[in-house]
Amino acid sequence: MAIAAIQILNTMASLALISLGLAVIFGMMRVMNFAHGELLMLGAYSVQFANAYGVNIWIAMFVVAPVVVGLIGILIERLVIRHLYGRMMDTLLATWGLSLFITGLVTMVFGNVTRGLSTPLGSFEIGGIRDSSYKFLIIGVTIALFVAIYAVLRHTRVGLIARATMDNPRQVGVMGINPGYVYTATFAVGAALTGLAGAIMAPLTGVLPTMGAAYIGKAFITVICGGDAIFAGTASAAVLFGLINQTTTILLTPEFGEVALLLGALLMLRILPSGLSSLFSRRAV
């Protein structure tokens, strides 16, 4: 039972973690980034590559991967997304074209093979069932990231500027801050968080050019079901869908877990079209 509880918590945390970067980009900028899966994949490659060249695994995971993917995010924002603000459908299509491009590029460079990465930390044992201690790391990191981002957005000057820019870029411009930089920075932060998530997931799944496809479905569903209050919404959607997914997985198979997640999402959106966060107060972020 304790094991099941940890597994359910872990699924919730993983969902929240892989959705966080997408939530930042979609929630703040209204850009649906269809290359999200590829940013996760690039994060995974960064940690695998850095580790293979002798960088300490924790530095590779928590420093190299977010920095590399954040820089790629800046590049994507400057080259593509910048030209399409306000055209949501076109941004979706352009980022989706990018996702194909990045998959193709990585396949060409690294080959269509799965690279392994050993899972750090050992295992723990409860009631005769062994499981990886890495699960605790995922849970801990996810909680820490959510708290940190919430605190930054709510209580710091940078967070205030970011929220103000999303609300009214012109007014922010009048006050002497270039909204263009704020957009670039926001996208870069979202990309960096995605890269970090990909790096953390890498030891569990192996690293492969098409690995993004395994995550994007869940991440998209979690973010769009979250609704307007992006962090509270994403967190609560991750809790709800993590519970549905993992319970169904334990009872049936992982495939049915995903089907149940989708059905749950469709039902939920039918009842609450503006997402889970429409249940909370307006002041939530």
Partner: protein
Amino acid sequence: MARVPLAIQLGAIALAGAAVIVALPSFIGYDTILQITLNFAFAILALSLGFVWGYAGIFSFGQAAFFGLGGYAYAAAAINFGDSTPAILIGVLLPALFALVLGYFVFYARLSSIYVAVITLVVTLILYKFMGQTAKPSYMIGNAMLGGYNGIPAIPPLNVPGRPDLFAGPEEMFVIAGLTALAVYIGLRVLLAARLGKIVVGMRENELRMELLGFDTRFYKLVAFVIAAAIAGLGGVMFANWNAFIDPHVFGLGFSAQPIIWVMIGGLGTLIGPILGAFILSTLSLELGTQKTIDINLILGLVFTVFVLLVPQGIIPTLRKFWTDRRPARDPDAGANASREASSHG
């Protein structure tokens, strides 16, 4: 230029097209026949997306999934019945039914187009995984094994209704697929000229206004979505026939990407554009697929992104615009007419 009445125009296209399709197999080689038959199946898929995206304004990531469902339904039914006639019907109805249920949830919840895109993508991804794990013997539909990632082999070909011994060879299949694609094109042209077509295009242009005029846009979106799914299913039936085999890759991201690229590059808001896109790009993909130096996704992704940024209307509307801009306007209304023509007729 005097406008030719639509009925005459379409009649001429139907006759000329049918004549070419029936005559062509005698002049081209076996390989080309097979390749073009596949292109016809893809053209039907492209038309379904061209309609639902270009005219109804609903971006559906799931057209390939409906195509795949049609193929799978045909395969399972044809293996069980031994006769292709009811199987074709099932291959069209199953995706339509699936779209009806899915569409009810998304359109009656009034989800925005971004949400619809995301949900249709997720459905496609889940179908891929789900069909992949059906290798266990428990996944049998009558006598048909779904076979997981190995797919369903030896799908019976189309036959003369009631006579399973008289089945279509490659040349007959070419003609059947070609005429089906032509019929779908003509059918969509007629539909777009009819009341339903006008409502659907009106909805794309201004949903709120249509609603204020008293149309239930949720209902019409659902109708357009279901029609498109049925057409995609028909394409899937042709595909399963061409291949005599179907596997879950039709639900994969790479395959789902293709119709979107065809429609986007051929031209959104036209019907001939998607057909052209399907023919050119699937032939190109085949050529590029034979060489190993450059990954096909890299090229398709790059071309697609560049098109979204620089030529968002696609090839056909851009050419049309170029053509009408070059001609001197005889009366002040000519330009307006021309652009209306470009946006409302395929």
